[in-house]
Amino acid sequence: MPDRLTYEELAALMKSGAGLTVDASEMESSPGSAFEEYGLDSLGLLGIVAALENRYGRPLPADADRCKTPGEFLDLVNTTLTGV
């Protein structure tokens, strides 16, 4: 079973996939802030979902790319990965 996705990893994916520099600790301290506020659009999130699916070799739920906030997204990804 893969490790849980962290805010650091999410920030790194936002950087490589969409060219956004985001402070992981800031994201972690306000997980309910919208992706939009960090400049991540729907295409950017779609790219992160695909990158994670490629990394883990398994699909994420169909609504993963509709998450509005980092907190919501991490919960969904980690629930899927750990089956909890």
Binding site: A18, G19, L43, G47, A50, N54
Partner: protein, 416 residues
């Protein structure tokens, strides 16, 4: 809104990203000195292709010019367009404070001949190398002809009419016409122009099929229009963006009016039919003069299309004689693009930029690398020629058969 017929379009800002320099200062210095920057193609993956000579944009730092997100999400042609748009807006002193209450009064028009070939190639390599799941979602917008218009509009908050002219070289002039039409329709300002990035492997291979492409490997000999040595054209990257405004609105905010877009006309005579382009180009010139209310004798300088293909050069010289009469053989003609190459849709917008600068400086820039002219034209060669310039004619033809002509005038309040 005022009577549409009275809503004149004027150029208030110019932003250039060209092979001979970024910004109008560097561009004009090199252009008026007749410096040629045509050189061997050095782009990765292009070194061993049969296209040897091109105009590469080398004095441009994308990291310093556009935000990182656009470096990742957009193609090089959009980086050039965004940087040129910033330069044009700075030049026009048109900032957010000027339009944040009226964002629907400001629009964007670009012309594009090929879209984002470099970005597209990278993603297609992932498609066939790793599979569809490895293609990034930004491919859906980055390759697209309309990408630069969209990104400039979103980034600047311009919510007025937005458009892209997907065409051959002449599309660069047609985009200006489109902007002028928007101004007549009620838009106060447009960011308009074209920038291209055709020097990536996939894009170059696509161009190898053009029989008019120069195969010459000597930078000083590869692009010599209007001479007996004419052997085709040299492609280039880059382009220019302009700020075009409704004249009263521009003057109302204290903008410097640099030139009026006085008339335009476009015709179509078919791909590669250069003999027929004589009639098409002549009709375009006549139409542009008519719209400008301008007699042939009033044209003080012509910025030629100058394809560098004997049949096309002959047709262009003939078109000038047909449309301008005896004045066609007397009027000074120049083609500064022989020093930088043809940046497809960006090429005529660079010519418009050079024409405005030429009128302001009272100096006709020369046609680099061209010496012995074999047509009945007064082509300005070797060094710039001082001249009082009030009206300029810019011509453009495309490989797919478009012909376009644009008349520019100095503002009437400009002292000589």
């Amino acid at each position: 809104m005022s009577n549409p017929a009275h809503r004149r379009s004027v150029i208030t800002g110019i932003g250039v990203v060209a092979p001979n320099g970024t910004g109008t200062g560097a561009f004009w210095k090199q252009t008026q000195e007749g410096v040629s920057v045509l050189d061997r193609v050095t782009r990765e993956g292009c070194e061993n292709l049969p296209l040897r000579v091109a105009g590469e944009v080398r004095d441009f730092d994308p990291v310093a010019s556009v935000e990182e997100r656009y470096l990742v999400q957009t193609d090089r042609f959009t980086h050039y367009a965004m940087a040129a748009a910033d330069l044009a807006l700075d030049d026009a002193r048109l900032g957010r404070a000027d339009y944040e209450d009226t964002p629907f009064k400001v629009g964007v028009v670009t012309a594009a001949g090929s879209g984002g070939g470099e970005f597209g190639q990278r993603e297609l390599e992932r498609l066939w190398g790793q599979g569809p799941r490895f293609v990034g979602p930004y491919q859906s917008i980055a390759w697209f002809y309309a990408a630069s218009t969209g990104q400039i509009s979103i980034r600047g908050g311009f919510k007025g009419p937005c458009a892209v002219v997907a065409s051959d070289e002449a599309g660069g002039l047609d985009a200006l016409m489109h902007a002028a039409r928007s101004v007549r329709g009620g838009t106060d300002a447009l960011v308009v122009g074209a920038a291209e990035a055709p020097l990536a492997p996939y894009s170059v291979v696509c161009q190898l099929g053009y029989e008019d492409l120069s195969a010459c490997d000597e930078p000083t000999r590869a692009y010599r229009p209007f001479t007996a040595d004419a052997c085709g054209f040299v492609p280039a990257e880059g382009g220019a963006m302009l700020v075009v405004e409704e004249e009263t609105a521009a003057r109302g905010r204290g903008a410097r009016v640099r030139a009026e877009i006085a008339g335009h006309c476009a015709t179509f005579t078919g791909a590669g039919r250069w003999e027929q382009s004589r009639q098409g180009l002549a009709r375009a010139v006549e139409g542009a003069l008519r719209e400008a209310g301008c007699a042939p004798e009033e044209i003080d300088v012509v910025f030629a299309d100058a394809l560098g293909v004997p049949a096309a050069d002959r047709a262009e010289a003939g078109a000038l004689a047909d449309a301008l009469g005896a004045h066609g053989r007397r009027v000074p003609v120049t083609a500064p693009k022989t020093g930088i190459g043809r940046a497809y849709c960006g090429a005529p917008v660079l010519d418009v930029s050079a024409a405005v600068l030429a009128m302001e400086h009272g100096l006709i820039p020369p046609t680099p690398n061209v010496f012995e002219v074999c047509h009945d034209l007064d082509l300005v060669t070797v060094r710039a020629r001082p001249a009082q310039l009030r009206t300029a004619l810019v011509l453009s033809r495309g490989l797919m058969g478009s012909n376009s002509a644009l008349v520019l005038r100095r503002p009437t309040d400009t002292p000589d």
